[in-house]
């Protein structure tokens, strides 16, 4: 499939700043999807609000662009309501780990078969430069004039602590590898998190393209992503941040598979309807005859 097929319009007005790392992520995502020959009509891009979260508008796909911080709950539900769809979440560090932190944790526990790309620019871009959960200590902003005093959020360590199914980090300074990691994440069955270093050229003068290059390196080839404790240890490295697939959890059924409804067939919910027979049976059970009355009320 030609990448051009993923262009949504002829003359797209992209609202990102010139030079923004998001352009690279968009390009790489489109390449990955093209190489995977993704059926676009069955692709759903889900996002919250932020610069990163605008990405779905710039790719030809079904789009659910919801609320700030709330990409994962609809994404989980979309996949559960129709497992035939491929669901990819595009989010920012504030969107996913700040406002959306609780969903981040509990979606990992749920383990739906969706992919979650977090454009991690260590700042709130859209709202013009406040600290984000991943901002480094001491990072100064208009809102944090004496610098950030909170411990930076370590998304990989937390995901590994939650036994996430797939945990990786990429840096858009390396498109080729980022593309491969993206493909691997999309192909992975289960919840896949990829935290992607993305320079915000306007509001983050600390974590620039160069900084990300200088402060990252790839996990060695022989690295074994099946070792949870080792993955955790590597996730703690911050002198230089390792890139690559940190952790692949033990195989376990995904959220949607475990729903009773799909033990009765694979049809998505929209192709089913309430059976009169089952309903009549339920009404029968509500007529006060033993022993349902005890069980049901």
């Amino acid at each position: 499939m030609d990448v051009k097929e993923l262009e949504p319009f002829p003359e797209l007005d992209i609202a990102w700043c010139p030079g923004c790392g998001n352009f690279g992520i968009r390009k790489v995502l489109m390449q990955a999807l093209a190489e995977m020959e993704m059926d676009l009509t069955r692709l759903v891009l889900v996002s919250g609000i932020g610069q990163a979260a605008k990405l779905p508008h710039y790719v030809k796909a079904n789009v659910f662009n919801g609320l700030h911080g709330r990409a994962l709950p609809p994404a989980t539900a979309i996949k559960a309501a129709n497992p035939e769809l491929t669901v990819i979440v595009e989010s920012g560090d504030g969107d996913m780990y700040g406002e959306g932190g609780n969903h981040f944790m509990h979606t990992i526990r749920r383990n739906p078969d969706i992919t979650c790309f977090v454009h991690d620019n260590m700042v709130y871009g859209l709202t013009k430069g406040q600290a984000s959960p991943t901002s480094l200590e001491g990072f100064k902003t208009a809102m944090q004039p004496s610098g950030v005093i909170l411990e930076p959020f370590n998304p990989l360590a937390v995901a590994i602590a939650l036994d996430a199914s797939f945990v990786a980090r990429a840096s858009i300074s390396d498109s080729e590898q980022t593309k491969e990691i993206m493909k691997q994440a999309i192909n992975h069955k289960g919840f896949a998190l990829v935290d992607i270093f993305q320079p915000c050229v306007t509001f983050n003068k600390l974590n620039t393209f160069q900084w990300f290059k200088d402060h990252s390196y790839y996990l060695e080839e022989e690295y074994n992503p099946r070792d949870r404790v080792q993955a955790f240890q590597r996730a703690l490295e911050t002198d230089k941040y390792p890139l690559g697939v940190f952790y692949i959890g033990p195989e376990r059924p995904v959220f949607e598979e475990r729903q009773m409804v799909y033990t009765r067939g694979t049809d998505p919910l929209y192709r089913r309807s309430c059976s009169h027979e089952v309903m009549e049976n339920l009404l029968d059970a509500k007529m006060g005859n033993p022993p349902e009355v005890l069980q049901q009320r």
């Binding site: 609809p74 979309i78 309501a81 729903q259 409804v261 309807s273 309430c274 009355v293």
Partner: protein, 578 residues
Amino acid sequence: MPQNVQKKTDELSVVLCGEAGQGIQTVEFLLTALLKQCGYNFFSMKEYMSRVRGGSNSTEIRISSRKVNAYVRRIDILFPLTRAALEHVRDRITEDTLILGERERLTSGGDTGDLKIVDTPFTALAKEVGGAIYANTVAVGIIAGLLQFERDITDHYLGEYFGKKGDQVIKNNINALSKGYEIGERLRGERYPNLDIRKNPEIFDDIIVNGAEAIGMGALCGGCNFVSSYPMTPSTGILTFLAQQASRFDIIAEQAEDEIAAINMAIGAWYAGARGFVCTAGGGFALMTEGLSLAGMLESPMVLSVGQRPAPATGLPTRTEQGDLQFVLHAGHGEFARVVFAPGTLEDCFRLSRMAFDMADRYQIPVFVLSDQYMVDCYYNFKRPDISGFTAENHIVRTGRDYKRYQFTESGVSPRGIPGNGEGFVVLDSDEHTEEGHITENLDIRTRMVDKRLKRLDDLRREALEPELSGERDCRLMAVCWGSNANIVREAIEDSGRDDISLLYFKQLYPLPANTADYFQGAEKTVLIENNATSQFGQVLRTEAGVNIEDTIHKYNGMPFSVEEMTDHLMAFAGRED
């Protein structure tokens, strides 16, 4: 008292009161099931504390010839299980109340004063037949004897009910029932010589569900196949009911990590073609208001069941109130259409919950089913709904290549596609958007989109359910109420014996039909009855229908109105009969 005696001959109000976990529910289950089996109309309501063990909870079971589906204060027969229970309902006890209890237990904390307790050795009798565990069945037996239940029915039922526990248990239960039955028969002779509660053969076809189940079943009939919620009294029952149907119905029931996740999941589910549902209380709904606004912007259908309880904040978690109406009406930033139903009967719980899904889907709006603790916990026998005509038709279209989710139309509603069902793309955006669903800052489109989202209110008003009028428009007093007060006010009017008092029961609270004001033309006086302190529906009537009701009746201590106090209120407002 005279009037009471008269009434009593064709109905009984039985109250069980004791600690949480003391087995009231077992008595209640058995008794109501047997009542149904024997052909008696009944009504049951609960009031309980927010604790798992201890405290004092009570259940009222009314047995009657005519259908009476409302809470009465009067207690004809009281089974107090503890001394505290006696205190708990003390102000409902009158001379006519028959108190059946184990005197020793009830006087342990001191003398019961002027309360006359008919010493009834449940435990001792139970032990005679096989153990203290059968005390509950003895209690059931008393009512069975009083009403002269057919023994073959009771014994057959006990056989089935305890079937799995073996013959000895069945036998002991039957014997326990007999012990109680004897007492009941004796009491009938002594205390209720004129008792004449008519059986009604028609009720054999009735169903027995509480408000929570009625709402849940209505939802299932409305095609609900996805529910995501977070437990919260009084709506947990709806959620668990639906969760338990997942083994039979094609429904996904998920306990969300919080209410925010719950509503956002449900919106996602609608987007993907499911019929999503959330059920919560006022406090949980507070966390959903941003999601509600999202539904408004996305033009996503959504059904929300909000069960009210006394607030603000945690309030009285297990009690009842109608204090969240204005919140539900105005929740969510920005302007968009919605519908609010407030069922006041179990039949309406079922019916309106079903309709809610249809309305939500057709108009692509959030629809509320607003209930309260009293409504979801009460139950009575009512006609099994005929579901043969229902189809939960999905109002979705197959998308074509040039599909636009927000195509401008005359009604404001655009054909709704879902991803993966057609050649088109379905693009939803919480920002202001173009017809295609893409983010825009075009100010003209903005105006048109606002109009589009609000336009459907015209149709919604046209389709709005009219209030239910019982009695004449031209009347001395029009008693106006909504939601769970319907049956209470209805019975209070009946009890008043006055045919110049009419009932106007609103089951759709927003939008109101255009002719709403007409209902108020003929009444000499109008009174508005609400379970809150600030006449919240009164404000709706004023802004939506231009109707201004000065006289109001309020209650906000956490309990529903009783029929008796309502009768008193109405009589006071109606004044002397002309």
